[in-house]
């Protein structure tokens, strides 16, 4: 049962992202603040930390590919970034404590890394011209706040589900 919950949550988050994208950009005092929902990558990083690195990278590849084809029309962008972030997360987490707070901070740092990689990519191929100061103020900070709220709200739930699944798998292996 819980085996399918892991997949179902990722599908749900994949479809929720563009819906939250419809609310952005938010106008405040004449400035437009861009909030980018990064729910899926947050969840995938949690999978990499608490459950299984290979599984996380596989999901990252599949959902990254869907993301590329459906939204971006540049194949190979997200299907590379998603697995890469899962790999980096699982690598770092070997040296640190598996506490929820640590995982939260690590996830947010990696989400910021995703945003910065995308900023460099899009400005270098000339689709968007944006200075780093503007990107920092109007894209990165609001995005990090929005995703921070998301992790604080659902991080414990992801951890609970994924650890349950991890323990279940361990039990199966022991039998």
């Amino acid at each position: 049962m819980i085996r399918y919950v892991v997949i179902i949550i990722s599908v749900l988050l994949f479809y929720m992202e563009p819906i939250f994208g419809l609310f952005s950009p938010i106008e405040l005092n004449g400035h437009f603040y861009v909030l980018v929902p990064r729910f899926l990558i947050i969840y995938l990083i949690f999978i990499a930390i608490y459950y299984d690195r290979k599984r996380a990278m596989l999901y990252g590849l599949i959902f990254g590919l869907l993301y590329d084809v459906f939204f971006i029309d540049i194949i190979g962008l997200y299907s590379f970034i998603f697995p890469l972030m899962c790999l980096v997360a699982s690598f770092i987490v070997r040296f640190i404590h598996h506490h929820l707070l640590v995982a939260t901070v690590l996830t947010l740092l990696l989400v910021a890394a995703v945003e910065i990689i995308l900023f460099v990519f899009y400005t270098s191929i000339g689709i968007k011209s944006l200075t780093f100061a503007n990107f920092y103020q109007f894209n990165l900070i609001p995005t990090m706040i929005a995703n921070g709220v998301f992790v604080l709200m659902f991080g414990w739930l992801f951890k609970y589900i994924l650890l349950n699944r991890f323990n279940q798998k361990l039990l199966l292996l022991q039998k």
């Binding site: 950009p25 190979g76 995308l118 689709i127």
Partner: protein, 300 residues
């Protein structure tokens, strides 16, 4: 870091990078056509997306209704004041419309670049990473949508279709920074002044209307609409209002900043306009004029 950079992984990483660069450059070259597997994925994901976005829009619709209910009193006061003007305006519009039809009958001219068949569609997703200004709507080739058609809301023009699959299509909004994005526009106030919407000023949040003949006088507050001369868009869709007029970089033509009439931030229902008169690939599209001069499109 011995484990992270073992030989096997390094080779894998390098091969991956080369593959990635190849894939990206391959898909960047031709972004306006979706291959068959791409279309299939888009349609399947789009179907799932519709299942999710329809209920959300229902919920946000309820919130909007409550909000408009709260503003009813103020709005009612303002609208009452305008109602009298409206009645006289309506009478004169009807009169002019009748006269127009009669005159058209006299000269035997039925087709009009103003006429279009609206295709009502629902926005199912906005490109979530928002690096490009794109939305995805739930009508596609099956419903008669084709590339370069104009997309608008009840407030005004918002963009054009850039990619279609059988059941979905992708719309690029006017607020894009794509340099190849042009819309042929006109300022119709006493005399018609033509120009091209080319580009979006990201600091001012306004469209840039270029190539206005400097002999004409353009004033602040004048309304800008589509001219219909770009070959694909119908005539008379409101784009926005002129806020400032200057000369362009070379001083040869005028340049005007246009505040868009439609808001680009929360979009749910949009109208795709399918022009009844034959479309030509002019300035609104790729500017090949392939339908007029045979083989012109193939050269480029």
């Amino acid at each position: 870091m011995p484990q992270f950079f073992s030989n096997k992984r390094l080779v894998l990483l390098l091969v991956g990078m080369i593959f990635l660069v190849a894939l990206i450059s391959f898909s960047l070259r031709d972004r306006n056509h979706a291959s068959l597997p791409e279309q299939l994925i888009k349609d399947v994901v789009g179907f799932g997306q519709t299942m999710f976005s329809k209920p959300t829009q229902y919920v946000t619709g309820i919130f909007n209704n409550v909000e408009s209910l709260l503003n009813t009193y103020d709005e009612n006061k303002r609208l009452k004041a305008r109602l009298e003007d409206y009645a006289t305006l309506q009478a004169s519009v009807n009169d002019l419309q009748l006269e127009n039809e009669e005159l058209r009958d006299i000269v035997d001219k039925e087709e009009n670049i103003r006429d279009f068949n609206p295709i009502q569609s629902t926005v199912i997703a906005r490109n979530p990473d928002q690096w490009e200004e794109k939305i995805i709507v739930d009508k596609g080739e099956i419903h008669g949508v084709a590339v370069n058609m104009a997309v608008m809301t009840s407030q005004g023009l918002i963009g054009k279709v850039i990619l279609t699959t059988p059941y979905t299509s992708t719309v690029e909004l006017l607020s894009t920074q794509n340099p190849n994005y042009r819309v042929s526009a006109v300022i119709a106030d006493e005399q018609e002044v033509f120009g091209l919407i080319e580009g979006y000023d990201i600091e001012r949040k306004e469209l840039v209307l270029k190539r206005i003949d400097s002999e004409f006088e353009v004033k602040k507050g004048q309304k800008v609409t589509t001219s219909g001369l770009g070959g694909i868009f119908p005539k008379g869709i409101l784009i926005g209002e002129v806020t400032e007029v200057t000369t362009d970089d070379y001083g040869l033509t005028q340049l005007a900043y246009v505040k868009p009439a439609a808001s680009f931030s929360i979009l749910d229902h949009v109208i795709i306009s399918k022009r009844t008169i034959n479309p030509v690939d002019g300035t609104d599209g790729g500017n090949t004029e392939a339908d007029l001069t045979e083989g012109a499109g193939e050269e480029s």
